[in-house]
């Protein structure tokens, strides 16, 4: 039985690598016909170089730092993971700077959040990257939303009158450790496919990550258990996955509609709502203006918490575990004071 499995693995690995070499950027015949002749000499040179590069380390570019952090956990020394957006930046609004092109050009794998989070800045970068491996639909392009549990998928008609809605669901799904685990799993699989020789190591690292995360989750759940069911207000719809996982109830938002800055009537409604229901906490991402949340908090005698939606949001949050440590500690402190 065991032997049979081993041979099966071996054959699959061989198959994989054959398939991979098919996916490598060898231009299709019709493209080649369009290219002028002198380009093909250069192409041959490039083809000789790329597999050699890939054999050493996997170059991973991610859209956000959370994905980069998980990629580092799973890939260890075998991957170079770097994020385009910084953790303290609003991932909806990133400038598509040419300096990112240089990094994308060398990437073996591009990992994105998907669900139209990056739609305002990533597509031109991908097109201009001149990197055939990471074009959407190629094997070097991974949309993580395909692997994760997605909340707030709009039902029925979607229009812009609803604000800047994401018609495919809420893209802030990485804020649930379960989805973090799914992301890690998908990455481990993809890394193994790219470097079959190190597949065992990726699986090993994923297993460790999974174990570590399960333990951490036990700790978080234990500490947070007394505060399940607490009501909060959030600035943007960044926290549904987080709140669902840890049992918080998001009652309303500071933004009247996603992407629309606070308006007076909505602010007044919010103040009255918070007073009526005794809600004291407003959760804000670090890239939003604190003026309106602060003034609301002052009127309801509440508190504004700047929670980190991403790894790298501030200096203390440098990996996926610390992201939850930091946010949950902040919440615990606030809850224990409010009573």
């Amino acid at each position: 039985m065991k032997n049979l499995l081993v041979t099966q693995i071996a054959s699959i690995i061989v198959e994989r690598s054959v398939e991979r070499s098919r996916v490598e950027p060898r231009p299709a015949p019709n493209t080649r016909a369009i290219m002028s002749k002198y380009c093909s000499a250069l192409a041959a040179l490039l083809l000789a170089v790329i597999p050699a590069q890939a054999a050493s380390k996997i170059n991973v570019m991610t859209a956000t730092e959370d994905l980069a952090s998980i990629a580092r956990e799973v890939g260890g020394d075998l991957v170079n993971a770097e994020s385009i957006a910084k953790g303290y930046q609003d991932p909806h609004f990133v400038e598509s700077k040419p300096s990112f092109l240089l990094k994308l050009q060398k990437a073996d794998l591009l990992v994105v959040v998907g669900l139209q989070l990056e739609i305002g800045w990533l597509p031109p970068l991908i097109t201009q990257s001149r990197n055939p491996r990471i074009q959407p639909s190629q094997s070097g392009y991974m949309d993580m939303s395909q692997f994760c549990q997605i909340l707030e998928i709009p039902q029925g008609q979607v229009t812009r009158a609803m604000g800047d809605v994401h018609p495919m669901g809420n893209p802030h799904y990485w804020l649930n450790p379960d989805n973090g685990r799914r992301i890690a799993k998908a990455l481990a699989d993809r890394f193994s496919a790219i470097q079959p020789a190190n597949a065992a190591q990726f699986v090993q690292r994923y297993t460790e990550f999974d174990k570590h995360l399960t333990e951490a989750e036990k700790g978080w759940d234990a500490k947070f258990a007394p505060y399940k069911g607490r009501k909060v207000i959030t600035y943007h719809r960044s926290w549904p996955n987080f709140c669902e996982r840890f049992g918080l109830v998001v009652v309303d938002y500071v933004e009247p509609k996603p992407g629309i800055p606070p308006t007076p009537a909505h602010t007044l409604d919010l103040i009255n709502l918070m007073k009526r229901q005794g809600i004291k906490l407003i959760l804000v991402e670090p890239y939003f203006d604190l003026r309106t949340p602060n003034s609301i908090a002052a009127k309801v005698d509440g508190q504004v918490l700047v929670l980190m939606p991403s790894v790298g949001g501030n200096k203390e949050v440098t990996n996926y575990f610390q992201l939850f440590d930091y946010d949950l500690n902040l919440l615990l402190n606030a809850f224990s004071k409010i009573k």
Partner: protein, 449 residues
């Protein structure tokens, strides 16, 4: 489809197995798990080849939907126990329609125009964009503009994204990569109008916009510097800049684009451009030289509230009649700055100055006393240009200044006002108040940097 359904339990099982296993530390189990995973991959790859869809999408059973339904409407998952993985199945629902966007541009003007009249109220341009990936090797972009004079193919080209050696090829009709303003669509401009130098020397609103090929490559450069070279060949027909009377009258445009991050929030973008083609004014060559610099500042933590952009462009032209170069080399430039005061308000200013040959066409037309260039043969302008060259008709110089205030109602619409004062070379001064409503629908238009 059937294969997908049959596959569903497999990743779920693998997932459950994986969590169950984590507690124990048995290598044999790990091996078995891995073997199963690999088999899943093999099967997934098979599905992929069968469906021509990415591996990832195979995890979600795509809902059969009629082609006419444009946007994904989530339907309950057909299975009960495990969590529903994946979004609303956008890839499946979108089928193969391109991303469609429509941008409306309503412009009004008041005040004294000093010779270059624009309508008081105008549905200036409605741009319809179709953009989609065509196949694994290319994508296509189409921009049709519906103006008051009719429909115009503003741009329509294919981009080959998978060429080797870091090359990228575009073929079709496109705005030439001459400087910054020439490549920019109306709705991305930070102003309501285009600067004087564009109107006088680079063909006005349409600019150098022609059918041709464009090849570009990222060039090797020292660390931290981004360099890109663009070489383009066009048919050679652009109103007021180039005109092709023979097939051999092709025009060529070259652009060198540099970029450097000065800090996390500040960066500098610069370029040099050259364009050459058959002159519309004489039987000779029209050449344009350009230099552009843009400074961007956007603090990452407050990216949606504050930013500053300073830009400037300098353009020289020279036309030769026959083999002899003319000494008249009209020059023009603009300097402009935009400061985002808060989430919704942007304050801007622009100073521009440009020379032009007297009685030579500009876009829009300045000098009604001169014949209409669209119905006048190029030969008419040859003596005019000779007169300009001999100094009998000195170059005229237009100077203008603008102050702009933009209000962003949301990400998809804006209201802009511009106060513009221009002194034209003929001695007339225009004081104008312009306003603009801009609104877009459809797919988010992401703009290149």
């Amino acid at each position: 489809m059937r294969i997908t359904y049959r596959l569903m339990p497999v990743p779920v099982m693998a997932f459950l197995l994986a969590t169950a296993l984590s507690a124990q530390d048995s290598t044999e189990l790990l091996n078995r798990m891995k073997a199963m995973e690999d088999r899943i991959h093999a099967l997934e790859a098979e599905v992929q080849t069968l469906k021509g869809q990415p591996v990832a999408a195979a995890a979600v059973p795509p809902q059969p939907q009629p082609v006419a339904v444009p946007e994904p409407i989530a339907q309950p998952a057909p299975m009960e126990a495990p969590p529903f993985l994946g979004g609303a199945g956008g890839a499946a629902a979108k089928v193969l329609n391109p991303d469609i966007s429509v941008i409306g541009d309503f412009v009004g003007a008041a005040g004294n125009h000093g010779g270059r009249a624009t309508p008081s109220l105008e549905m200036h341009e409605s741009e319809v964009g179709f953009q989609e990936v065509i196949d694994p090797y290319a994508r296509a972009d189409f921009f049709l503009s519906f103006g008051e004079k009719g429909v115009n193919l503003e741009e329509g080209y294919i981009t080959f994204t998978s060429l080797p050696a870091g090359l990228q090829l575009k073929a079709g009709k496109m705005r030439a990569a001459f400087g910054k303003v020439n490549t920019t669509h109306n709705h991305v401009l930070p102003w309501i109008d285009r600067p004087l130098v564009t109107q006088n020397l680079v063909g006005g609103e349409d600019g150098i916009n022609d059918a041709g090929l464009s090849l570009s490559r990222i060039l090797p450069a020292p660390k931290g510097l981004f360099l890109e070279g663009i070489a383009q060949v066009f048919r050679g027909d652009s109103d007021g800049v180039f005109s092709a009377t023979r097939r051999s009258n092709v025009s060529a445009v070259g652009h060198l684009h540099g970029y450097r991050d000065l800090s996390e929030s500040t960066n500098l973008d610069f370029g040099a451009s050259y364009a050459r083609g058959h002159s519309p004014f004489s039987d000779g060559i029209n050449q344009l030289y350009g230099a552009d610099v843009t400074l961007h500042w956007k603090p990452l933590r407050r990216a949606i509230y504050h930013s500053f952009v300073a830009r400037s462009e300098f353009i020289w032209t020279r036309t030769s009649v026959g083999s002899a170069d003319l000494p008249a080399k009209p020059f023009g430039f603009y300097v402009s700055g935009d400061y985002q005061l808060n989430r919704r308000w942007i304050l801007g200013a622009r100073f521009d100055r440009s020379q032009r040959g007297q009685c030579l066409p500009t876009v829009p037309e300045t000098t009604s006393a001169c014949p209409d260039p669209s119905i006048t043969p190029a030969s008419f302008f040859t003596p005019v240009y000779s007169a300009v060259s001999r100094g009998n008709l000195p170059l005229l110089q237009d100077t203008g200044g603008s102050i702009l205030l933009t209000y962003l109602t949301s990400e998809f619409s804006l209201l802009r006002t511009q106060f513009r004062r221009t002194s034209y070379g003929e001695g007339r001064t225009a004081n104008e108040f312009l306003f603009q409503f801009q609104f877009s629908m459809g797919a988010h238009g992401a703009h290149p940097f």
